[in-house]
Each structure stands twice: as structure tokens, then as C-alpha cells.
């Protein structure tokens, strides 16, 4: 890592915190991958294990918070050390949330798999999910190597996720209004798309924390907002 502390136990504590983030990140990545894969394969088998595993993420996040509080109390960290600990706490909470979204995707997938008579495939969903997985992977690397530039790259790439989400949202709305018998499945797909879009947003907030850790300030420009699904309604769809 960077300069060594005179008190070597402090270095060990910080390394431990990084290790916990890496572990939590790996778990979140895995949960997301499993959730998207099982939906894609229409295979309900991994769902129960996935839901059970979410508790491990919660427990690890809790543990990380405890260690961070302990470090703040005992070591009185300053400057980069302080930022690193605060960033770790925030990133851990984001990773825990990503785990929740993966769990929610799995739960909705169960309903979709059970009620689908014929598959309502959605290419963009798979595309979105794999994009978000790449982003998550890259941002965790950026954290591990304190690479603010790579973090900003992740931040920028979220635009594409937002665009995909917006177009999927339109498609699904149209599908629902055209064939009401697919309404249930489609609305679950709608929520899954939203979950993935949210994971993208959370991933950008990790990117912000990495930037903050390195530079001591947040990236200045607002991320260009490409997701305008909140302005989409059926009325305007039909007029077109």
C-alpha cells in the first residue's frame, strides 16, 4: 500500500478493512452473477441458496462497521487514513444494498419462471446485467488499487446502463398494454430492470468514494443523466 505507519498494527487494521471490502465485493458480485444467470437460464435451483447467502453479506457488513468504529476510536485516524475508513464504511453499505437487489431479482425470477408459459426473452436485460457486472468488477479493482481514473471511467459508463433501462422500460410498458396476459411477468421484468439500474447507480457511488479516497473531494461535474424513464408514460408512447 502507501507509506507505512510507525504503529504497524494500524497497517494491519487497514489491510484487514481492505480485505473485508474485497470479500464483501466478491460476494456481491457473485450474488448478482447468480441472480442474472438463473433468470437467463430460467433455472430456479440456486434461488434458495442465494437468498440464504444474503445473510452472510449482512453479517460481514456489520462486522466491517464494528471494526471501522473500533479503528476510529483507538487510532484516531487522520487525512487519507480517515478517508479510507469512511469510504470503506460507505462502500460496504452499498455492497450490502447490491446484495439486496440481487436477492430481489432472484425472488422475482422465481415468479417469472413459475408463471411463464412461453419465454418473454429480453436481450437488453442480459446486456444491462453484464454491463453492471463489469462496472462492479472494475470499481472494486479501482478501490483496491486506489485508482481514481478507473473509478471515473466506471462512473461514466453508467450512462449506457441508464439508456438501456429507459428503452427496456418503454418496450415492457408497450408489451403490457398490448397483451395484458403477460402483465405479471412483464412487471416483474420491469422491476428487475429497475433493480439492475439501481445497482449501476450504487456502483457509481462506489466510484465516487474511490475518487474521494484518492483526492479528498467528490468528482465535481454531475454525471450526465441518461435515464429518463421517469418521464415515460403510456399516453406519450401511444401518440408516437
Amino acid at each position: 500500500m502507501e507509506d507505512q505507519h510507525i504503529v504497524t498494527a494500524f497497517d494491519r487494521d487497514l489491510a484487514e478493512l481492505n480485505r473485508m471490502i474485497a470479500q464483501l465485493g466478491g460476494m456481491a458480485e457473485q450474488q448478482l452473477a447468480t441472480a442474472t444467470r438463473l433468470l437467463d437460464a430460467r433455472d430456479p435451483a440456486p434461488i434458495d441458496a442465494l437468498i440464504a447467502k444474503d445473510k452472510e453479506l449482512d453479517a460481514l457488513e456489520f462486522l466491517l462497521n464494528e471494526r471501522a468504529i473500533e479503528m476510529i476510536a483507538i487510532r484516531s485516524p487522520m487525512a487519507t487514513d480517515l478517508r479510507r475508513i469512511i469510504a470503506a464504511v460507505k462502500i460496504a453499505s452499498v455492497l450490502e444494498r447490491i446484495g439486496d437487489y440481487a436477492k430481489n431479482i432472484a425472488k422475482r425470477s422465481r415468479v417469472i419462471i413459475a408463471s411463464e408459459t412461453n419465454r418473454s426473452d429480453s436481450i437488453s436485460l442480459t446486456r444491462m446485467a453484464s454491463l453492471v457486472q463489469q462496472m462492479l468488477n472494475q470499481v472494486l479493482d479501482a478501490y483496491a488499487t486506489s485508482d481514481a481514473e478507473s473509478a471515473i471511467d466506471v462512473w461514466d459508463r453508467d450512462q449506457e446502463v441508464d439508456q438501456l433501462h429507459t428503452s427496456m422500460y418503454r418496450d415492457l410498458l408497450q408489451m403490457i398494454s398490448a397483451q395484458s396476459e403477460v402483465a405479471e411477468v412483464s412487471s416483474h421484468l420491469l422491476f428487475i430492470a429497475k433493480n439492475i439500474e439501481r445497482i449501476g447507480d450504487h456502483t457509481t457511488s462506489i466510484a465516487e468514494q474511490v475518487y474521494f479516497l484518492v483526492h479528498g473531494s467528490l468528482p465535481s461535474d454531475d454525471r450526465p443523466k441518461a435515464d429518463d424513464s421517469s418521464g415515460t408514460n403510456l399516453g406519450s408512447q401511444k401518440k408516437r
Binding site: 502507501e2 507509506d3 484516531s76 485516524p77 487514513d81 480517515l82
Partner: protein
Amino acid sequence: MSDNPQNKVKIEARDVQVFYGEAQALHGIDLDLNANEVTALIGPSGCGKSTFLRCINRMNDVIDGCRVAGTITIDGQDVYSPEIDVVELRARVGMVFQKPNPFPKSIYDNVAYGPRIHGLAQSREQLDHIVESSLKRAGLWAEVRDRLSASGTSLSGGQQQRLCIARAIAVSPDVVLMDEPCSALDPIATAVIEELMEELRKDYTIVIVTHSMQQAARISQRTAYFHLGNVVEHGATQQIFTNPKNQQTEAYISGKIG
């Protein structure tokens, strides 16, 4: 702990160099210290913090072989100009030293000494009042109210330090210089002194040397980092302790091998 940009400069140091015989301890210090603020001087042992502090009220004058070059002004007035009355200067610029140094006199007389020689009290009641309020502000009153005639040197180290603080503020100085005032104090007495500094800065300019980064962060509005007789970084305390610009400052405040 916001710092007010309107606070005006009280003490201005320009190219201050100090020599002890052949050895140069300060290599051209430029530093502006604002009124109504606490400025913390931090840095490794031997980097010249005490030396700089002593320049401000000319305490270096009494050290054999010590030579000061450059200028220091207080309210625009050159501290080293021949017209300056050093005794008066030291009443305006009070100092609390690294080691407590009570006079070998009663507790009462330790505090009353300054107000007496500067004629700050018209009556015994007034003097009593100054002594009592100074001891109260320094957080010592409760412990000594029943033994004011006991010798100052009979107090414990931490009590002696608070007595010296009471002595320094008894003459209502403009500027208070404190050299590690809390290094011998317990956490309660330390908190009392920190509270006192926060109160004093409403009227005074305070410069404190401290080896406790937490203390510097808690009590000061501005921090200057000294290294080998130079000021390496000077800025808002909040910035110095969360996001220092200089690598040496970062290493020092976070206890890293530089």
C-alpha cells in the same frame, strides 16, 4: 469550528530566521496569524515550534547566543523595534511554557503578580476578583480556593500548569502563546483548558504548540506544520487534517514513516 475569512491578521511574521550561535533553528518563516483564532503549530520535536513562539514576545532575547532576523509585527507594529518596551510587550503577549514555572510564591501572589505590576487593580477587592476569576477560567479555583496562601510550587504538575495559565490570563493579554500547555494535564483539566481557549479567542489571538493531533484538530481554526525550521504547510485546520496538500504533512499527522 468554522473559520471566519474576515478575521484580520494580528501577527505577521516575515522571513524570520533564528540562530543559536552557529546553528540555524528557523530558516525564514512567513506566517500570518489571525485575530480571534486559535492557530496550532505542529511538527516533530526540534523543528522550531517553541523557538518561533518565543520570537513573538521576544523571549529569545534572554537566551545567550540567540539571534533573530526578519520581522514580526503585532497590529502592524514591529516587535523588534527599539521603541518597544519589552515588559509591556510580554504583558500584551502572555505565554504559557512547556514546563510549568510558577514563582516560588503563594498561589494568590502568582496570579496577582502581573495585575499588581501593571496596575490593573485599584483595590484589594478588585485584585481578589481578578485572582478568583483567572483561577476559575483556568479550571483551578475549586482545588485551591482553600489554600491560596500555599506555595505555587506545592501544587501537582498539572495544577502548576493551570496556575501558569491563570497567571498569563490575569493581565488580560491580547495574544496568548501556549507551548504544549496540556502535556501534563489529565483529560478533565485538558478539556477545561480547551474550553478556555475557545472562550479566549473571542477576544484574543491564540497560538498553541501541541503534539496532540487530536487537540490541534479540536481547538484550532488554522494549523501550521513545521519541519526542520520551515513552515511546510499552513491552512485551515479542517483542510490540514482531512486533506493535507503536502506529503510530509500527511505523513506526520497520520503517523507514517515519511
